[in-house]
C-alpha cells in the first residue's frame, strides 16, 4: 500500500461578507491515492470548486480563505506553508486544469512556450524544448513540433485543453486537479479527453481529483466518488456500489436526473426545488426541504453526521433504513410526490 497522496481533513472555507463570514465549504474530508481518480460531484453552488481551490490556496477572490482543516499532500500540510513555499508546490507537485481552456491561454504566445512556462517558473533551464515535445506526444497531439509553434486560436477546444493538461503536468506533479475539464467541449472531444486522463493516470501513476457536475463522467473515469451538497459531502463511496446502490436520497435523485436511453420528456425525473444559497442553509439536514423521505422532528432539526456504512459513508438520518434505499420510488408509491 502506497502512502496517501492527498488527504483533505475537515476542511472549511469561508468567504468574507462584511463582518460575517459565509461558510461555503463545511468540514470536507477526502483522499486521493497515487494512480487513482476521485470524483467530486455537485451542482453549482455546492462548494466543489471552492474545495479544489483550497488545495492550492488559489481562490478566485481574495475574500475566500481556508477557515479550518488541513490539506496534506505527501505528508506535508499545505495550509501551514508560507506563501513562497506553497508557490514551489503549485505547478510542481500539483497541476490544475479548468473548464474553459481558452481563457487560461495567452492568445499572443505560441502554445509550446506556454507549456514551458511552469518549467521556467520552477527554475529549469535546460532540456525545456525536449520536455515540451515529450509532453505534446504524451497528450497524443500529432506533429508535436508544428503544434508547439501554433497560437491558441489555431487549435480546437479539445487541443487547447490538451495543451493545458500538458502545461499542468510539465513538472511531473503527482496530483492533477481537473475542474470541469470537459464541460465546455463536444461529447466526442470530451470522450477523448477522459480517455487521455485515464491513460495518464495509469502510465504516470497520477492521482486525479476530478470536479464535475456530471455523474456519467465520473462513472467513465473515476474509482471513487464524493457527492457534495450545500457545502458538505453527503455521500462517498467506490463508484461500483455508489452507482449500483446509492444511499443518500440526493445521490439517488441526481442519478435519476441523468438522461438515459429510456428517458422520455413526459416522464423526466427532476429533484423538486433548487440548491439553497450559501449562508441560507436549511436547519437540520440541508437537503431535508427537497427530500422525499424527510422525517419531521428529525431531519429538519438534527444535522446528520457523515456515517460510515458498507464501503462508503453517507450523511442521512435514514441512511441505514430500508426506506432510504429507494427514496423517490418509495415516495411515489405513497403518493405524496409534488
Amino acid at each position: 500500500m502506497t502512502a496517501t497522496l492527498l488527504d483533505i481533513r475537515k476542511l472549511s472555507v469561508d468567504i468574507a461578507r462584511g463582518r460575517r463570514a459565509l461558510r461555503v465549504v463545511n468540514d470536507v474530508s477526502l483522499t486521493v491515492e497515487p494512480g487513482e481518480a476521485v470524483g467530486l460531484v455537485g451542482e453549482s453552488g455546492s462548494g466543489k470548486s471552492m474545495t479544489a481551490f483550497a488545495v492550492m490556496n488559489l481562490f478566485p477572490s481574495p475574500l475566500a480563505r481556508v477557515a479550518a482543516g488541513q490539506v496534506v499532500l505527501n505528508g506535508q500540510d499545505l495550509t501551514s506553508l508560507p506563501a513562497d513555499a506553497l508557490r514551489r508546490v503549485r505547478g510542481a507537485q500539483v497541476g490544475m486544469v479548468f473548464q474553459d481552456p481558452t481563457s487560461y491561454l495567452d492568445p499572443l504566445m505560441p502554445v509550446g512556450r506556454q507549456i514551458a512556462e511552469p518549467l521556467r517558473a520552477h527554475g529549469r533551464t535546460d532540456g525545456i524544448d525536449a520536455r515540451v515535445l515529450e509532453l505534446l506526444d504524451l497528450m497524443e497531439l500529432p506533429q508535436a513540433v508544428a503544434v508547439a509553434r501554433k497560437y491558441p486560436h489555431e487549435l480546437s477546444g479539445g487541443m487547447r485543453q490538451r495543451i493545458l493538461i500538458a502545461a499542468a503536468l510539465a513538472m511531473k506533479p503527482a496530483l492533477l486537479i481537473a475542474d470541469e475539464p470537459t464541460t465546455a467541449l463536444d461529447v466526442t472531444v470530451q470522450a477523448g479527453i477522459l480517455k487521455l486522463l485515464t491513460k495518464l493516470r495509469r502510465e504516470l501513476q497520477l492521482g486525479i481529483l476530478l470536479i464535475t457536475h456530471d455523474l456519467a463522467v465520473v462513472a467513465e473515469t473515476c474509482q471513487r466518488v464524493n457527492v457534495m451538497y450545500a457545502g458538505q459531502i453527503i455521500e462517498a463511496d467506490a463508484v461500483g456500489p455508489l452507482f449500483k446502490a446509492p444511499r443518500h436520497p440526493y445521490t439517488q435523485g441526481l442519478l435519476a436526473s441523468i438522461l438515459s436511453p429510456a428517458s422520455r420528456a413526459h416522464s423526466l425525473f427532476s429533484i423538486p426545488g433548487g440548491v439553497p444559497i450559501a449562508g441560507q442553509w436549511p436547519s437540520g439536514c440541508r437537503f431535508h426541504p427537497r427530500c422525499p423521505i424527510a422525517r419531521p422532528g428529525v431531519c429538519d432539526v438534527l444535522a446528520p453526521e457523515l456515517v460510515a456504512r458498507g464501503s462508503g459513508a453517507d450523511r442521512c438520518h435514514l441512511g441505514g433504513e430500508a426506506v432510504a434505499a429507494d427514496a423517490w420510488r418509495t415516495e411515489a408509491r405513497s403518493g405524496t410526490r409534488p
Partner: protein, 282 residues
C-alpha cells in the same frame, strides 16, 4: 394557431419553416489579397430541412458542423448564400411589412447562454414585456398582466421574480425567463440552440419537462440544436445529424439512435458518457 397567421393556408403537409438547399459561405480568414480571390468555406452546404406544425426536430452535430449557422438562417438572422428559407411556404427574404413582422413574431429563439441573452440592467419582468409591447402592441398595463401570466407558466412566481435582475437568478431560472420571453410573442416555432447544455444535470430535466409541456399545450414546434443525444431521445420526433456542413443522416429519432446508419452518428453515440462504472476499461 393565431388568426394573424392565416396569410397562407395552414396545412399540416405544408412545413411551417423550411430551408431549401441552403448554403452559407464564409471567407477563410487570412486568405485572399489585393489581387487574389478570398477562399470561401462552406459552413452549411446544400441543406434542406422542414419543420412541421407541432413537430419536435433535433439538429445534432459537433461545434463547427454548421448547425448553429443553419439555425441562424432559419431565424432570418443570417442570409443564406444559396437557397431559400420559407415560412409557411413564403420566402422570408421576400416578406415585407406585416408578413415580415408575422415571421419575426412567430419564429422565436432560446439561446444557450442565459446570462448573455438577457439585459443585465433590466428587471426580468421588463425583458419579458418587451416582445409583448413590440410584437403584440399591448399597452403597459395589459403587458404587465401578461408578463405575470408568462412567468407563472414557466414556474417563476411573478410576485417574487418580476423585478429581479438576471444576476440574482440561477442558470435554470434565467433559462425559464428566456423561454417566457420567447413565448410572449405567441410563436408557432421555437428554435432552441443548446438550451440546457450550460445547466446542471439536475436542472436540465426541469427545463426539458417545461419545454415539453409547452409543446403539448400550445402545439409548439421546436428545433432543438444540440450535441446531447440524451436530449434528442427525450424530446425529438425526428433528428437530423450534421457533419462538416452537410446532413449525413436524418430520420425518426428512435430509428436513428437505435440503428445509426452513418459512422459519425455511431461515433457520437459511443462518445456519450453512461452512468455505469462497469463499462470502464480496467
Amino acid at each position: 394557431m393565431n388568426d394573424a397567421t392565416s396569410d397562407v393556408m395552414t396545412d399540416a403537409r405544408v412545413p411551417l419553416l423550411e430551408a431549401r438547399a441552403v448554403s452559407r459561405l464564409f471567407p477563410v480568414r487570412g486568405s485572399g489579397g489585393l489581387f487574389r480571390a478570398k477562399q470561401m468555406q462552406r459552413a452549411v452546404d446544400q441543406v434542406s430541412v422542414a419543420i412541421h406544425p407541432g413537430e419536435v426536430l433535433a439538429l445534432v452535430g459537433e461545434s463547427g458542423s454548421g448547425k448553429t449557422t443553419l439555425g441562424r438562417m432559419l431565424l432570418g438572422l443570417t442570409a443564406p448564400s444559396e437557397g431559400a428559407v420559407l415560412y409557411k411556404g413564403q420566402d422570408i427574404a421576400a416578406r415585407a411589412g406585416d408578413a415580415a413582422r408575422t415571421f419575426r413574431r412567430e419564429v422565436q429563439v432560446v439561446f444557450q447562454d442565459t446570462g448573455g441573452s438577457l439585459n443585465p440592467r433590466r428587471p426580468i419582468g421588463q425583458s419579458v414585456a418587451l416582445p409583448l409591447r413590440h410584437n403584440l402592441g399591448l399597452d403597459e398595463r395589459t403587458s404587465m398582466r401578461e408578463v405575470d401570466a408568462l412567468l407563472d407558466q414557466v414556474g417563476l412566481p411573478p410576485a417574487h421574480f418580476r423585478s429581479r435582475l438576471p444576476h440574482e437568478l440561477s442558470g435554470g431560472q434565467r433559462q425559464r425567463v428566456g423561454i417566457a420571453r420567447a413565448l410572449a410573442s405567441k410563436p408557432s416555432v421555437i428554435i432552441a440552440d443548446e438550451p440546457v447544455s450550460a445547466l446542471d444535470v439536475s436542472v436540465r430535466a426541469q427545463i426539458l419537462k417545461l419545454m415539453f409541456e409547452l409543446h403539448r399545450e400550445k402545439q409548439l414546434a421546436y428545433l432543438f440544436i444540440t450535441h446531447d443525444l440524451g436530449v434528442v431521445r427525450a424530446m425529438a420526433d425526428r433528428v437530423m445529424v450534421m457533419h462538416q456542413g452537410r446532413v449525413v443522416e436524418t430520420g425518426a429519432a428512435d430509428t436513428v439512435l437505435n440503428t445509426p446508419a452513418h459512422a459519425y452518428t455511431r461515433q457520437l453515440l459511443a462518445a456519450t458518457p453512461v452512468p455505469d462504472p462497469s463499462r470502464q476499461q480496467r
